[in-house]
């Protein structure tokens, strides 16, 4: 069998032939994310979701344009990010972008998009500064920032009467940011942090840190980081006999987390911005369509956001035509847009002011919305405070 990109290229060629027959104008979009390296699972999930959005749109007879997706790999490195962002932004045939999972990369590239006037929508990077440290009309974001997530997380957890936390975070911008905002909101809600442990993102062994944590006797271990590290830490907690609730961030809301842990995942908590996709009619459709395409990799936590971002961009193009400036203004005006991740409304910094944060808990090998879980109903119990 041919590798997927080759197959995709062949499909594109066929579509182009078909497209010529129906004489729709071709419009190019760009997707940028990490397709190789340590966090490629997320990048591939986002790429596939964007690809899916484009395919579905092209299959729609009512669409005015024939969309073509250019996918670029930023390797999660800022310098490569600037390189590919320049490639996309300098290419005048590309109208808009769905870009970036890694926050440092997004921080490095926003200047490029602004300089070349390429409207783009961030689909996964969560650092607040990406939208708030500048005032570039080109930069939008559909996913929430880590501020929203941690505010809800701190309030919810203290509401469950937990008082003593130990924090582990990776030393990337993602983990450090989560640590900062969670600590801030936890202090406001009266929780206490017994110890904070920064660990490097490629670390395999956490026995020293966890032994120290065990000695501190926390009720909850807060983890700011993404799935691979989360799986390792949760496993090793069990190995060393650390009996505490495992509370994660949006970075672990993935099938891979559950697959990686098996029964140990039971009772892990996590928070993610946006409505629970499974519950929205569009979300169910997204998951069905995604599975129907038989991609090699699951959509992961942010696939749905990439899908929403791609549709948002294509809707704007359908409305005002393939012109960067017009698309930019149209995106700026987004209000109450219905998407697979809930309503999208951009604030004055073009940040989706998602009011909703969903709380998740693992129950019987699935991420379940907290309110629907046996835990909320009192049938099962987390580790007691």
């Amino acid at each position: 069998m041919l590798p997927r990109p080759l197959r995709a290229a062949l499909c594109c060629a066929l579509l182009l032939v078909a497209g010529a027959a129906s004489a729709k104008q071709a419009v190019k979009l760009v997707f940028i994310g990490p397709l190789t390296g340590g966090v490629s699972a997320n990048g591939l999930g986002g790429r596939n979701a964007t690809d899916l959005a484009v395919r579905l749109r092209n299959a729609d007879a009512k669409a005015k344009y024939q969309y073509e997706l250019v996918s670029l790999d930023d390797e999660c490195k800022p310098n490569i990010g600037v390189q590919v962002a320049t490639k996309a932004a300098a290419d005048r045939s590309i109208v808009a972008g769905v870009t970036h999972y890694c926050s440092t990369v997004a921080m490095a590239t926003v200047d490029v998009y602004h300089k070349f006037g390429l409207p783009m929508v961030v689909w996964g990077a969560v650092l607040p500064d990406i939208t708030y440290a500048n005032d570039y009309p080109e930069v939008h974001r559909v996913n929430g920032t880590m501020i929203n997530q941690n505010e809800t997380a701190a309030r919810f957890m203290t509401g469950l009467k937990y008082q003593r936390w130990a924090v582990i975070h990776d030393t990337t911008d993602y983990g450090k940011g989560h640590n900062k905002y969670f600590s801030e909101y936890l202090a406001r809600n009266g929780g206490r942090i017994l110890g904070t442990f920064g660990v490097t993102a490629d670390q395999q062994d956490f026995s020293a840190e966890l032994t120290k944590i065990k000695d501190l006797r926390p009720e909850v271990v807060y983890f700011g980081g993404i799935t691979p590290l989360g799986v390792r830490i949760r496993t090793q907690m069990d190995k060393l006999g650390v009996k505490a609730v495992f509370q994660g961030t949006s970075g672990i809301v993935s099938d891979a987390y559950i697959e990686g842990l098996g029964p140990l995942a039971e009772g892990s908590l996590a928070f993610r911005e946006g409505a629970p996709i499974e519950k929205l009619p569009g979300g169910k459709f997204f998951l069905e369509q995604y599975n129907a395409q038989k991609y090699n990799d699951p959509p992961e936590a942010y696939g749905a956001f990439a899908f929403a971002a791609a549709n948002l961009v294509m809707d704007a193009i359908e409305k005002v035509g393939p012109d960067r400036k017009k698309v930019r203004s149209e995106l700026n005006r987004t209000r109450d847009y219905q998407s697979v991740v809930g309503t999208i409304t951009f604030d004055d910094h073009r940040q989706n002011a998602v009011p909703l944060i969903t709380k998740f808990v693992v129950q019987d090998g699935k991420w379940i919305v907290w309110e629907d879980s046996d835990y909320a109903k009192g049938k099962r119990k987390l580790v007691q405070p």
Partner: protein, 305 residues
């Protein structure tokens, strides 16, 4: 700090050190016979762990239930296959570059490591995500205060140390070992004496890689999770341990492995921000090398002029 907590740290350090030492022994063997850095060693370890996982899945599908049989099956599959992989890499990647500067071997093995890593990531089903590794060893534990000693950890430490001792005996007590040592000391003279240089090199690479496979399976059984990037840091640390200990010396590799584990554990305990532990460990490495320029157990070789 009470005794049981201290005991827990020591135990953690022992487990970590055993895995590091197993990797370091491989590096030291390769240095010995060919004087090359083989940068793909960590990735070979990773492939070993995945081979073990596939063996487990296959055997379970065949209906094997017993954990003891499964563990044996995992090791008996991973170890010989990876030994073959190691020998193949030596035959087709390392030996063809014999005439060029030794550092060129570094580049070709670095790239071979990338090929292995990317291949697992792309072609193992959903290989970009971490995979659970089965718990095949008894997980009963005894607790003394803060110390939790699980039987699986104890078994793995014992197994790891036993494998290193076995390699040591092989190198010092057998005819094959004699050949390896002869080539390590002076490959030209060894060849003049009628030794099959190529065969000795291949066997050495096979032994080193087999140990890496065992280390990979050990890491899998201990952490119950493996991923395509697990070899990256283990490879660098194994290399560091081998060099700090003193190249070409098995005791040095073991010493280096445990020293490194000790430094990391100490760093994590001492510093308020545990991520400084790698800064600490590698800074100490630089200092140790300044103090003892050919490693803790110095190479017993006079400079040939």
């Amino acid at each position: 700090m009470d005794v049981s907590l201290l005991g827990q740290y020591v135990l953690n350090g022992l487990m970590l050190g055993t895995i590091y030492a197993m990797v370091a022994v491989g590096f030291t063997l390769f240095f010995g016979v060919l004087d090359v850095i083989k940068f793909s060693h960590g990735d070979v370890l990773m492939v070993g762990a995945f081979t073990g996982l596939v063996a487990y899945l296959g055997l379970s599908a065949l209906g094997v239930q017993s954990n003891a049989l499964l563990s044996l099956g995992v090791m008996l599959t991973a170890v010989p296959l990876i030994a073959l992989l190691g020998a193949a890499m030596a035959r087709w990647l390392v030996l063809p570059l014999r005439g060029s500067p030794p550092i060129n071997v570094l580049l070709i093995t670095l790239m071979a490591g990338t090929v292995l890593r990317e291949a697992i990531r792309l072609f193992y089903p959903a290989g970009a995500n971490p995979k659970p590794f089965p718990r095949l060893l008894p997980t009963d534990a005894v607790s003394f205060g803060a110390l939790t000693l699980r039987f699986d950890s104890a078994i793995l430490i014992a197994l790891g140390l036993a494998s290193i001792v076995a390699v040591h005996l092989l190198v010092t007590r057998t005819r094959l070992g004699l050949a390896i040592r002869a080539v390590a000391q002076d490959s030209e003279t060894a060849q003049v004496m009628g030794m099959n240089f190529q065969r000795v090199v291949l066997v050495t690479f096979a032994i080193g890689s087999a140990l890496a496979a065992l280390a990979g399976v050990t890491a899998g059984l201990y952490y119950n999770e493996i991923n395509f990037g697990m070899g990256l840091l283990l490879g660098v640390i194994g290399f560091s341990a081998a060099v700090v200990g003193g190249l070409g010396n098995l005791y040095g590799a073991i010493l280096g492995g445990f020293l490194f584990a000790g430094l990391q554990t100490l760093g994590a305990v001492w510093f308020a921000v545990p991520a400084y532990k790698d800064v600490f460990a590698f800074a100490v490495v630089i200092l140790v090398m300044t103090w003892r320029p050919t490693g803790l157990i110095a190479e017993q070789q006079a400079e040939r002029v």
